[in-house]
Symmetry: C2
Subunit: 543 residues, 2 copies
């Protein structure tokens, strides 16, 4: 029934490799499963590394999920740590390996091979880059080194404001370090559209973190107190330690040297069962390309979830053949916590849609994390992108203090099901006052998108795009507390009686606090013959 | 372009009626919109009522979301409270109304009529049922009455352990009352399968709540200290006050008298635009039937989310005609909080599938609410039901202390998208240690379901269904701490070496703590030729 290779060799023992090995053992008790790992650790919780440095996860053992011994006991895996694969001899189905400790070389034969070498942190060839005071974070050893090093410094610069950079910034602040974050883009989290991460940028600054956006590094120089980083802008930044988190590069050298097909950005090319162009060699995790199921393009998503499920897919195909479930591609769902805030994305950002020249429409709405009348509700901002052709959801971004993960998961599921804005409008989500809303912010996004299509909502994305006639329909107290520049305040409840104060010959741009009352106001005006626009997200999002 | 009725009359001013009126105003500024409400309040937060009684929502104003005056100001609605609709004259398109205060009768003409009278709490004709010490909770007046009455009693009996009954039990306990809960079914929350709500039953008992399951009420008798309830079992229960929450009955009398079509359970029959068999009369909310989009049957779901969106649908159809978005039916997603626990359902329970004689398969898995190595993770139990024909998800239930709402929303979205168990396996959910898992419990449910289909997992639903040869593969310490009756302990890590202790001639039933290691153990045994079953949910769920 099942195919059982005599020897399954896995290169790389963390997320994707460990999953492939574990799943293979479920299929076959008698296959010899060998896992090679260049480092000393396997199957550790790599996403948790920043949180041990900051103390959220005090016990290092929590991160060392498995050991070679535990995997031997549980799964009868032959784990060989400190063992580097240096060449694949596909003709003879063997991998040449070298002991990291002794340098001794040997060869291991395989029937099936799974490559899961991952991706390594980028280290650009800048002057001074080789200083031991410039660190990267990939594994437990890196973590231990950083944890030891930060003890003796007061200040740390983090280069790159992606997910890991921001997690490190938060954690190092929590243990009292003076933290600077340098990001080449004019925003943090470049995967997410700029306006959506502004609350997180504010949160970082409120904590006293020195956030340097739109500036890059020209080089480093060792100084007595640590390192001096020279920025593109000409400024210098003197800190005790630098952590580099500007991205990763797929470790595809071994695959490339073995003649396996490599994609345009250096990733190993695989089919939907994670098979390379050699039918006996599979490849999973950060090192490989996959399909983008939203637009059918190729993509590469270096995240733990996809890696784990790709490993499982490879093992299934090895044992079940073509009746194995295909890997359906990656949509890049991701999230980061920054102090009290979270932000994330599922599918395409507006920026990526623009770059790819894909037609789209977008709307941004606010809503409470649970019933606004129940204590503890926090505002979630949700930005939705969809196809104007068929209303299909292309992506969404969310930020806020609570419930961001839930909304991203709903959208991720909706994207998988190829749901439309109309489907979002009518999602029937769990509602009790502590947990949700009779009309959740996801429903509201669907409503707003449908209103745009049906011509009920003429939106303006931001205050900057609004014309000169701006009407603020908030109650006077709110309008005075957080005024909108250039706006005239006519509270919604007075709007119908004060239409003569609004110039019919010019478009009207209506704003409120959350972007809901402004829509009500714009409808009143439109139904009275005005060309009326609603400013999305309201003062909460714009001012 | 749009149709604009001269007069839109709405009967009922809470969830569905208020939504219909508000949405109608977005479409048309010049329609006269009249809303009749028998009570003194409109558009209040009916789902929040228990939480003001218990003090979670201290400010009553939070629940009185809108007033007739605020709705006049914002939406130019003509709200007539304390006004009861007593007859519909469909031939003349008029509704006869009566002032609750004066008894004065008059008539209001309509072009379009929306019925949203809701459903009223059941009050069965038992001896003593008319005692003023037996209360029900539907509106702010009921809430005020109960809040005042509980002040002078020490003990309260809640009849019916559905959502509202449990919320009341929690809240009354929180303000120091001695609470009894009487439920005719042998479990709380009869919408959800029995084994899934056991943690909540334990939580109630742990708090000292007197939980009486599988027993009903024969009648009540007033006694000096309050009321004495006589139970079917012969027991009596003496308390200061009784709250009746055994369900609701659709208030369809007005519609029935007007000759509108009524369904088998007394609900008003509507089409996908919420239209009754009279094209000028719509009906929304708890009073009407709708479609069950999972199996295409008729259903009625008395919940706030559906009511609100049905109101919107009716208003859209009145103004846009057949290009209005159809209401897609209700799947009954619901959730309740009981102290630290939550439990809920989306779609079909196993019991309902059995009752409807629908073929299904089911699996129950456990998983952490977020990365188990990050502080604060709590176990979620997820039970999944799907169609053996095509793997389509038919329903799911979840319980636990954190993240239950998120998983139900993911499943609700999956059901809307007609996703399969394989789709669940590969959902790409938001993962960072504080928020999720590389393999979330929803993925794991999809994995387990696929394993069942592919013959890798032979499950046994509960310990009672297991045969005599039970192997507990937990480490000895865990096995001793929470022993499984009749089981022999062979830790997983020793299993391969101790196969000779297991009788090959009999099926083996493997159990562990969470239902994962037992699957690993069963695979080892199956791959060694045993007939090996894994006991779902593990000791966490079974013992």
């Amino acid at each position: 029934m099942q195919k059982q290779p005599n020897t399954l060799l896995v290169i790389g023992g963390v997320a994707g490799g460990a999953s492939a090995a574990a799943r293979a053992r479920r299929h076959s008790e008698h296959t010899r499963i060998i896992v090679l790992e260049r480092g000393p650790d396997v199957s550790f919780a790599n996403c948790g590394l920043p949180y041990h440095i900051g103390g959220d996860i005090p016990d290092r053992e929590e991160l060392a999920v498995q050991t070679p011994e535990s995997l031997k006991g549980m799964l009868n895996l032959d784990i060989r740590t400190m063992t580097e694969a240096i060449a694949i001899d596909r003709a003879n189905k063997a991998v040449k390996v070298r002991s990291v400790a002794t340098g001794e070389e040997s060869s291991i034969s395989y029937d099936k091979l799974v490559l899961a070498p991952g991706a390594s942190p980028l280290r650009p060839p800048l002057p001074g880059i080789d200083s031991p005071k410039i660190m990267t974070l990939r594994n437990l050893e890196d973590m231990d080194r950083i944890k030891a090093a930060v003890e003796s410094v007061d200040s740390v610069a983090i280069i790159g404001a992606g997910f890991i950079g921001l997690e490190m910034a938060e954690q190092l602040h929590e243990i009292g370090k003076q933290v600077s974050v340098v990001e080449l883009q004019p925003q943090i989290l470049p995967q997410v559209d700029a306006e959506m991460v502004r609350p997180l940028e504010n949160a970082l600054r409120d904590k006293g973190i020195n956030l340097i956006l739109g500036d890059g590094i020209q080089g480093f120089e060792e100084i007595e107190s640590g390192l001096s980083a020279k920025l593109n802008s000409g400024a210098t930044l003197d800190v005790g330690l630098v952590i580099l988190s500007i991205g990763v590069r797929p470790e595809s050298g071994l695959a490339r040297d073995a003649g396996l097909e490599i994609g345009p950005r250096g990733h190993v090319v695989v089919d939907a069962w994670q098979r390379t162009n050699d039918p006996d060699v599979y490849c999973v995790g950060d090192v490989c390309e996959t399909e983008d199921p939203i637009l059918g393009k190729r993509t590469a998503i270096p995240l733990g979830g996809p890696a784990n499920r790709q490993g499982r897919t490879a093992a299934d195909h090895i044992h079940l053949g073509d009746k194995a479930l295909k890997y359906p591609g990656s949509i890049g769902t991701s999230i980061v916590r920054v102090f009290d805030y979270a932000a994330g994305i599922a599918g395409y950002s507006e920026r990526r849609l623009k770059m790819e020249d894909v037609p789209y429409q977008t709307v941004t709405v606010n809503g409470p994390s649970h019933a606004s009348y129940f204590p503890g509700a926090e505002t979630i901002t949700l930005k939705l992108m969809w196809s104007p052709d068929d209303g299909r959801v292309l992506g969404a971004e969310a930020s806020g203090k609570d419930g961001v993960d839930k909304r991203l998961d709903i959208i991720a599921t909706a994207i998988r099901g190829r749901l439309t804005i109309d489907d979002l409008a009518h999602l029937e989500l769990a509602y009790a006052p502590p947990f949700g809303n009779a009309k959740d912010v996801v429903n509201v996004a669907g409503f707003a998108a449908g209103n745009m299509r049906d011509g009920l909502l003429l939106p303006v994305a931001d205050l900057q795009s609004a014309g000169e006639q701006i009407i603020d329909v908030r109650p006077p107290a709110s309008a005075e507390k957080k005024p909108v520049p250039g706006a005239k305040n006519i509270p919604l409840t007075e709007l119908r009686g004060r239409l003569d104060e609004i110039d019919r010959s010019k478009p009207v741009y209506v704003i409120c606090q959350m972007g809901k009352t402004s829509y009500f106001g714009a409808r009143i005006l439109a139904n009275n013959g005005y060309e009326a626009y609603s400013i999305l997200g309201g003062a909460h999002h714009q001012v």
